[in-house]
Structure formats: structure tokens, C-alpha cells
Symmetry: C2
């Protein structure tokens, strides 16, 4: 619809590269995006954004604490609203869109999953570190038994080469995942590295299992990484309005959909309406909290550090009076993964002690 | 140097794609970036940023009004400091970096060029709309006679297909340009479209003429567009600290250099030092004016509108009480080019009249 607005001509791709390709967008403003507001979305915020995304025709909307079901905790930060209320509120607005939730085994449990399903969840996305796919098995199996669409999330995918990442994807598919995502949790991948990973998964997985891409923007490549994934065979792409999310944030859904229009893909989304939802609803609700590609966010991508560590590092920097950037650079040498947030404190203390030898 | 910080492994590009490639970065914070501060950089600002870029090893620094030599005017906005003072101030700091200036024939004249050369300019970049390369001829010729490095800038490159863009590049090369840039003034190109354009120029130009890329971020693709250009054969890439610049801004120099490290390219820049210059100097000086990929900036890329129109459209929207976004959408149907800023007023007036029929 929207490419008619466009004066962009290009004789070499007169047929845009994704012409006729159906791309399924999942908007995670109300899940990953909640990192940007320290998990303080109100029920009204969730209702407003869910209604807008549903109205714009976004087919899948993810809602929970930023760290998934059960994430509201001392370790990950307490949410303003419990997951139950967030899910019920979104469910009431999502007359056409599917409702998705994230679950990190160990943070969330089978019990959280059953309760979310009772409240009308359509899709469960089970996330593990990219070398630990096997711990997703019981949650994926339970999701299938509950009649949910099941998605596997391979976090920190930059830490494995394509062939080994594809083997882990196969573990998730064998456990019942209907879609397996390459998740660039650190925003450390560039488009050519996304292409090789998605292509490796596409080759390794049976045709009925789809491939997805969840991109972060720490190297300024969120949207093009998602496009590169689609061109390499991914059918599912994540985004969040204004890129709200951990670290430098995600691929911005409204920008990604505009770029997909350019490429001839079919998302079923009303692009101009989505652009207005991002600008009028999300930007208003999150004014002052939109993600920025600042020094610390860039260093997360450059050093390959889990994006969710950003706010933890910011707190530790204040508490121990050391520089955020020094914490990230030091963490890079430890190659930590999600769940090792305690290492941030250790590193900050070590930096503080090095500053003042006793 | 810096890829040793990196846990990113990828068996399929164990040899990073730009290994051994020498990439020449031109930082345009103090030229294109001055759009972000409405051309109000002070001499102190220019001295601070020039000194930082020189210290970090950035090989080329562009300084002038955002619309180039002679841009300070009623039509384009008056600068706080005249070009002469900006150039003298930067020259005093750039002990190692080359000093570049932009010139749009018609905005700047041969006389401006001679004065800038007298004040120690090393590089002149002559910019025309992508269909009008021939009007750059006399300024490129004069630049060569003055002993300057001469660069041709093909603005709004999304409006021509690769083959016709390459023919225009050949016109600039024949007139003496030593480098010809694909300039995505509207931020309307995606990486695959940059690749085809740069490849077409690389094929059409003699080997001694280099190809460059100047990317804007209106579709969230600034840094990956610059990377795609390098992979397609461009040796010269523009950036600005924090992406400061017209529209959604440019490719952020510090992010681009970090990404080029990842790809094995040699820029001669101290990446961590550059990241600190962007964060400690530029972000402080431009606090509150860093570019954002908001609705209007996105629509510029989506509709293919010259990025410098953003602030003009913002002013017209306030003056005539119409929505910025409506102005951009209406402009898209006219396919205006740089220099047709008066059309913004016409469109705003028409929108205002349509709102209140007399």
C-alpha cells in the first residue's frame, strides 16, 4: 500500500527483494520495551499501546516483565503491575492480534506458563542462552500441550558460530518449537553475520519450523539486521515502537515495517497508522525514556554484553562510584551471559578497590 | 586493535569481510551536524570537537555551515560564526587530520572556495543534485587548480537507478573529482540499494577515482548502509558523532568505526578514544539537540524527502498550524530536491487553507 508514497526507484531491484514474502511481526514494546521504563508500565499504558498495535494490524504483541514471566523480583526489578494484570489488560484490547509472553526457564516456571495460558495467552516464547537450548524442552512441551504457539529464543546468538547455533536450534525444534529465533541480545551482530546464522538455521530446521530474528541496536544495525534475516529466510521479525528495549533498544517496529514496505514484503500492518501509534501513544507514555545509542549502549554491542545489563551497570556505577563504561569494558573480558548479573557487582567492586588501594 | 575486546566469533566469516581494507573516514559533525544545532556552533565548540577528532586519529574533518560554504543566509539560516572563523578555528586544531568543506554551487561560489583555500582547506566536496553533476565542473576544476583534494557529492542518490547514477558520477570524475560519493540525502536507501549503486559507480569510474558513501539514518540504516558501501567497493565513508545531522542524522562515526573494527577494516582511528570524544565532548555540547528517529524523520526517509527540509517543515508547521507529518507526506507527492525549500511553504499554506475553507 505504502510504497506508492515512494519516489525510490532502482532499476536493479525493480522487483523489490522481498516481493510477495509474508513477514510476521511481533511487537515487544510491552515486554522488552519495559526495560526502558524499569518495568513500570501501568495497566493504562498497556491498554493504550495494545489497543493501538491491534488497531494498526500488528499480528503479535508480547507483554510481560522485561525479563519475562516471573521476572518481577529483587534480582530483575519489581514491575509496577503483576504479569497477570498485564496479560489480562492486553488480552482485553487484542481483538485481532495474538498475545505472546516470554519465559526464561529458571526465572519463570511451568506454573507461570499455565497461569498465563489460563488468561488467554496465544504464544509462549521460551528463551535460553544460545548454548543451553535443552533446558527449554519441558516448557516448549508444556506449551504445546496447552495448545499455544511455541517459539524458541536463542539468546546471545553472537557467541556461537552459525553451524553450532543451528544445532541448538534443532534441539528446540525437536522439543516442539514451531519457530526458532536468532536473538542478538547484545546487539553485537552485523547484517552479514545475521545472514549466515539465519541461513544456517533455515538449512538445519525442517521446513515446517520457521526462523525468526530479534535484533538490538547497540551497533546501530537493528532494522537492517532484521531485513538481512528476512532476506536470508526468516519469516518472523521482532520490533518495538521507537526501539524501546534493553541496551540501545530493539529494531524500531515502525521503521522496520516502513523498510519492509520498501522491500515489497507483506506484513498486513497499516504502516502510517503504526507510525502514529509509536509517535502519539508510545512516545508520549515513554517521554524521557526512549533508548539512546550512547557510549554505554555502544560498548555493550562492541564488547558483546547482554543488553539487559545496562541498567544494572548504571546502578552499580553510581553505587560504587566507577564509570559505567569501565564496568562494561571489564565485563567484556569475562564474557558473561544472561543470569550472571551478579558479576556486574563483582566487577564494580574490583574497579572501585583498584581506584583506592588500601 | 579493538576486535580483541570482542567475543564475537563466526566460523563463516573467520576472516572478517573487510580484512586489510583501508577505509578513509570523514567526520561531518561540524558541517552536517550543525543542522542539529541550527548552525549555532561557537568557535569554542569547533575547537573542542576538532581537537578531539584530531586526537582520536580521524583522518578528515568537515567544517562549515550545514549547507556548505556561503550557506549562512536568510534562506538556510544564519550561522553563529562565519565560515572563515569556523575554518580558521578548526585548522588550528587539525595538526594531523585533513580539513574539508562542502560547497553547493549556487549557495557557495568560486570566491568562497578561494577564501577557504587561503585559510588552509585541504579538501573541497562539491555537491549537486544527482541529476545535475555537470554544474559541479567549474568548482571541481578550480579546486584542482588550488591544489585541493576534490570530491563530488551526488545528493538524493535514491532518485536515480544505479546505471544513471554511475553516468553522473562519471561526469564528476571527468571534471576532476578524485572521489565521488553516493549521498543518501533523504535517508531513503536500504543496504541492498546502496550496494548496487556503489558497485555501479565502482564499475563506471576509472580505478584512480575512489567511491564514497554519505548515509542518513531516516530508515534506521545509516551505519549498515555505510558498511554495505564499503563491502561493495567504497573506500571513503562519512559519519558524524552521535549521528548529528539533518533529518534523523548521519551514520554515527563512533558506531561506524566500531562496526568497521568488527569487519576487519583499517581506519587508523583509536576507537575507544573516538567513543569518548562523542560522549564527553559532542554529547555535552549538543545536549538536547541529538537527532532522533521520530515520526517526521522517518517520513522523510519513507517519502524520499531531503533531510535538510526537516527544520524548515517544523517551522512551517508552527507558522501555519498544520502537522509536520502532513507537510512531509504532501511533499512526497511533489518529489522536491534540495534548493526547493520554498515548496515547503506552499504545501503548508495549501494544507492550512484546505483545513479552513473560506
Amino acid at each position: 500500500m505504502s510504497t506508492t508514497d515512494s519516489p525510490v526507484v532502482d532499476s536493479t531491484d525493480h522487483v523489490p527483494p522481498l516481493t510477495g514474502r509474508r513477514i510476521q511481526i511481533c511487537d515487544t514494546t510491552l515486554r522488552d520495551g519495559s526495560h526502558s521504563v524499569r518495568h513500570q508500565f501501568s495497566a493504562d499504558d498497556v491498554a493504550t499501546v495494545s489497543a493501538g498495535l491491534n488497531r494498526a494490524g500488528v499480528p503479535m504483541v508480547e507483554v510481560t516483565h522485561g525479563d519475562g514471566l516471573g521476572g518481577s523480583s529483587f534480582a530483575y526489578g519489581f514491575a509496577r503491575c503483576p504479569d497477570d494484570e498485564l496479560i489480562r489488560t492486553a488480552r482485553a484490547q487484542l481483538t485481532d492480534s495474538q498475545l505472546a509472553a516470554l519465559l526464561l526457564p529458571g526465572v519463570g516456571t511451568i506454573e507461570h506458563l499455565r497461569r498465563a495460558a489460563d488468561q488467554g495467552l496465544d504464544v509462549i516464547r521460551v528463551a535460553t542462552h544460545c548454548t543451553e537450548a535443552d533446558i527449554a524442552a519441558q516448557h516448549l512441551t508444556e506449551g504445546r500441550e496447552l495448545g499455544l504457539v511455541t517459539v524458541g529464543f536463542l539468546m546471545m546468538s553472537h557467541m556461537l558460530p552459525p553451524d553450532r547455533l543451528a544445532a541448538q536450534a534443532r534441539v528446540m525444534a525437536d522439543a516442539g518449537a514451531q519457530v526458532v529465533y536468532v536473538v542478538d541480545s547484545a546487539g553485537a551482530l552485523l547484517p552479514h553475520q545475521v545472514s549466515t546464522r539465519v541461513a544456517a538455521l533455515r538449512t538445519a530446521l525442517p521446513p515446517e519450523v520457521s526462523v525468526g530474528m530479534h535484533a538490538h541496536n547497540n551497533l546501530g544495525s537493528g532494522v537492517p539486521n532484521a531485513l538481512a534475516a528476512a532476506m536470508a529466510g526468516a519469516d518472523h521479525l521482532d520490533g518495538s515502537c521507537h526501539g524501546l528495549g534493553a541496551g540501545a533498544g530493539n529494531a524500531a517496529t515502525e521503521v522496520l515495517v516502513a523498510a519492509l514496505d520498501r522491500c515489497g514484503a507483506e506484513t498486513g500492518i497499516a504502516t502510517q497508522a503504526l507510525i502514529d501509534v509509536a509517535a502519539d501513544d508510545v512516545a508520549r507514555i515513554c517521554a524521557g525514556n526512549l533508548p539512546a545509542l550512547d557510549r554505554t549502549a555502544l560498548l555493550l554491542g562492541y564488547c558483546g554484553i547482554y543488553s539487559s545489563f545496562l541498567l544494572h551497570a548504571r546502578r552499580a556505577a553510581q553505587q560504587y562510584q566507577v564509570a559505567e563504561a569501565d564496568i562494561i569494558r571489564a565485563l567484556g573480558r569475562h564474557r558473561p551471559v544472561g543470569g550472571q548479573e551478579d558479576l556486574i557487582i563483582d566487577v564494580a567492586i574490583a574497579l572501585a578497590q583498584r581506584r583506592q588501594p588500601s
